[in-house]
Point group: C2
Chain length 450, copies 2
């Protein structure tokens, strides 16, 4: 797990603010849930592997009270439920589902919420994968309108435009198209295995996907029938749709998925969205089995970092908590990966204005009295200001301003005291001028607006 120092925090806050602004512009409202949830809420939602990766919190006090010697000899499986009742959240989706069920009577549907909080996974740390990382989720539940999907495409494009990320693709697919594929190749009902296998196409290659399908019992004929899908030529979205209209003709589910997809893109176009960056990908499955409609995933070109955003529609998010029939669609930005992307591309904006804008350097005690009054005047003008707190050597004071990247230093010596002026030094250009307080304030504000 990582510490974030001042310059990283300034950049992270820039990402959070950019995403938050877009979420709010689209009518999403913020929600926060606690770090700990009951293990009964968390377990069984992320598959066996996910359950392994949950951080479990030890019950407080005499945590061994309920554990018998027999339990102990049986091992972890018997001991765990007796010493731990809570775990750290693994994502923001399950806590959101729990929230919707708990507050179902207060919520106005459709409910558009966003959530930006850390999640924890007891994973082996590696590049781009952390044990503590932030997710920024936006979901809308209580409507099956495909306008929501179109708005998600708009939001992703808007965030990327604001961040200045030039080359990326928003891959889009529909779970029903995957279901339809399984049907038309003669393997109806096996879309689960199909998804798991073809989802890995980019990672393991065509032959390995085929082998995995054979192992799962797919016939040679059906794998051959998948050919035109797996041997993805570069086609335009429109060419793909034309192809699928024939390919999926035998599956009403598949055709429904295709229609949904076309409708999403129609709404997207009515919203003024340009299809640039939006790429249909027939093998996109995102592993997760709970998607029932649209599936999204965003990849940035030119960097070796996994997907930075993804999501999809689910028809039964809250069913597992006893509230059926709530359809929703959502997506998530991985801020830690976005950070790595921006950093790798070198496109973070200059964050100089985030920190202190002026530092006061005083020659002696009398000057410092004056300095303290000026300090408050700068702050009253909205300028982040500090005074070097000790009467150290002037050089040491300047060094401090330099190391902290403070753009202006205001020097107060004997002469400035007599003339009621400030010697304002622009640390970048090295230029120094004797100014009145008012003119110094203007100079600093004008410079920060550049």
């Amino acid at each position: 797990m990582r510490d974030f120092g001042p310059s990283e925090m300034a950049r992270r806050n820039y990402l959070f603010e950019t995403i938050r602004e877009v979420f709010k512009l689209f009518g999403y409202q913020q929600l926060e849930t606690p770090a700990m949830e009951n293990l009964s809420t968390l377990t069984g939602k992320y598959g066996d592997e996910g359950d392994q990766l949950l951080f479990k919190v030890l019950n407080s006090g005499e945590f061994l009270k309920k554990v018998s010697e027999a339990d102990f000899r049986e091992g972890e499986h018997n001991v765990l439920p007796k010493i731990s009742e809570k775990g750290l959240r693994y994502d923001l989706t399950v806590p959101f589902a729990r929230y919707v069920v708990m507050h179902q009577n207060e919520i106005t549907y459709p409910f558009k919420r966003f959530q930006m909080q850390p999640v924890w996974r007891a994973d082996r740390p590696q590049k781009g994968r952390y044990r503590e990382f932030y997710q920024c989720d936006a979901d809308v539940v209580g409507t099956d309108s495909l306008i929501c999907e179109a708005e998600i495409l708009m939001m992703i494009k808007q965030v990327f435009a604001k961040l200045g990320i030039p080359d990326y693709s928003i891959k889009i697919n529909n779970r029903k198209i995957l279901t339809g594929m399984a049907e038309v190749i003669g393997e109806k009902g096996k879309e689960g295995d199909l998804c798991v296998a073809i989802d890995k196409l980019d990672k393991i290659g065509l032959q390995n996907v085929r082998d995995e399908l054979y192992q799962k019992g797919f016939s040679v004929d059906s794998v051959a029938a998948l050919g035109p899908v797996l041997e993805k030529e570069r086609r335009s979205n429109q060419d793909w749709f034309a192809f699928l209209k024939e390919y999926l003709a035998g599956s009403s589910t598949g055709m429904k998925g295709l229609n949904e997809l076309e409708e999403v893109l129609a709404f997207f176009s009515q919203l003024g969205g340009a299809e640039q960056h939006v790429v249909f990908d027939p093998v996109l499955a995102r592993g997760l089995s709970y998607y029932t409609g649209a599936i999204f995933e965003v990849q940035v070109e030119g960097v070796q970092i996994g997907s930075v955003s993804g999501g999809g529609r689910y028809d039964n998010l809250t069913g597992v908590f006893g509230l059926a029939g709530i359809s929703g669609v959502g997506f998530s930005f991985g801020v830690d990966r976005l950070y790595d992307v921006m950093d790798a591309l070198g496109i973070f904006p200059d964050q100089q204005s985030e920190g202190t804008q002026v530092m006061l350097v005083c020659f002696g005690e009398e000057e410092r009295k004056k300095g303290l009054a000026l300090l408050s005047a700068f702050r009253k003008a909205g300028i982040a200001a500090e005074i070097y707190p000790d009467l150290d050597k002037i050089k040491k004071q300047f060094n401090y301003a330099d190391k902290k990247n403070v753009p202006f230093v205001a020097v107060i010596g004997a002469e400035e005291l007599v003339n009621d002026q400030i010697s304002l030094k622009d640390m970048k250009s090295g230029k120094q001028e004797a100014l009145s307080l008012e003119r110094a304030i203007s100079a600093i504000i004008n410079s920060s607006l550049k």
Copy 2:
């Protein structure tokens, strides 16, 4: 632990933003540390009671691997270190100290950092006390300049002024004054017991404080000598200082504390601070034993909620991690309590502009096509906008806007479509007008500026 829905989040963000702005104005830079720290970092820093209240995280995988049957029979004390290595942070001070030691060579001193993150305590939940709550800390380390203390007083006053909290007191004391008191009453070296007892004066009353001191071995004479301090009359700060000048004359440490206090207030006055709300309190000790100089605590009048802010100077924060001689001073806002205070006083500002500002209601499919284009135009103008995603009954759509407190509804029916206009309804006044897009945008922006 608590969920925070949209309206609570808007208010909480307002508090965080207000505090963050002031911290930044004073030159503090943001830091974030991970939720989990090694238990070796956390334990032994908060006393026995604190150690009990740490949330411990179970090691992942085969957590019982290292536990022998003998350990198990010995109980929690032997088992804990073998099944848990990490805990959730209990405050932001210890992680900050750990950070300073880890990054000592990269840090420019004086190092001014702020941190706004949740902390966790396995406490029995009660009013004003939560198991998960946010702290907002600002500390400066690497200087013993008393300007820092004066700036803390300024920051507290500025935050309270911005929040509009009218009646509050910033109690201030100095640990050396407490040490001096122990000396002059003839109980030198026993200021620890003295602090613990007199700190409770407001809670348990004079007689109980005296009894506790007797129990701790204080003589009748020395408790009697404390009389003028404990029987706190309402004196002005200046009267107190005059009194203490004689009372503490026999203790050089006590006199040093008094001088420090007067110097803090002199710097505060040079910064332009008015002494209103700043109250010297000779029995303020804040329990914590690591304060070595100034001690602060802020109480809001008119509400039964504990202190909302507090802090002090410590001369050896990082000594326990092997880095001695780093003096610092810091303080913290308890945002959850500040929330309760603001809520109890009914002084949260109207947060209407936080949410969606306009919702589009469309009569049919053709109108919706137009509506989607308008939606993007509103957002392009920076107006948070949404469209009701389904073609439901108009009344249902209006109900949604009403429940979500959306101030404007833009209606698009057949007539509006023909005239290329929007019927903009002000939900508060009920007034409805047919407007061009441009005029509708102006109307919404002007209304939100009010």
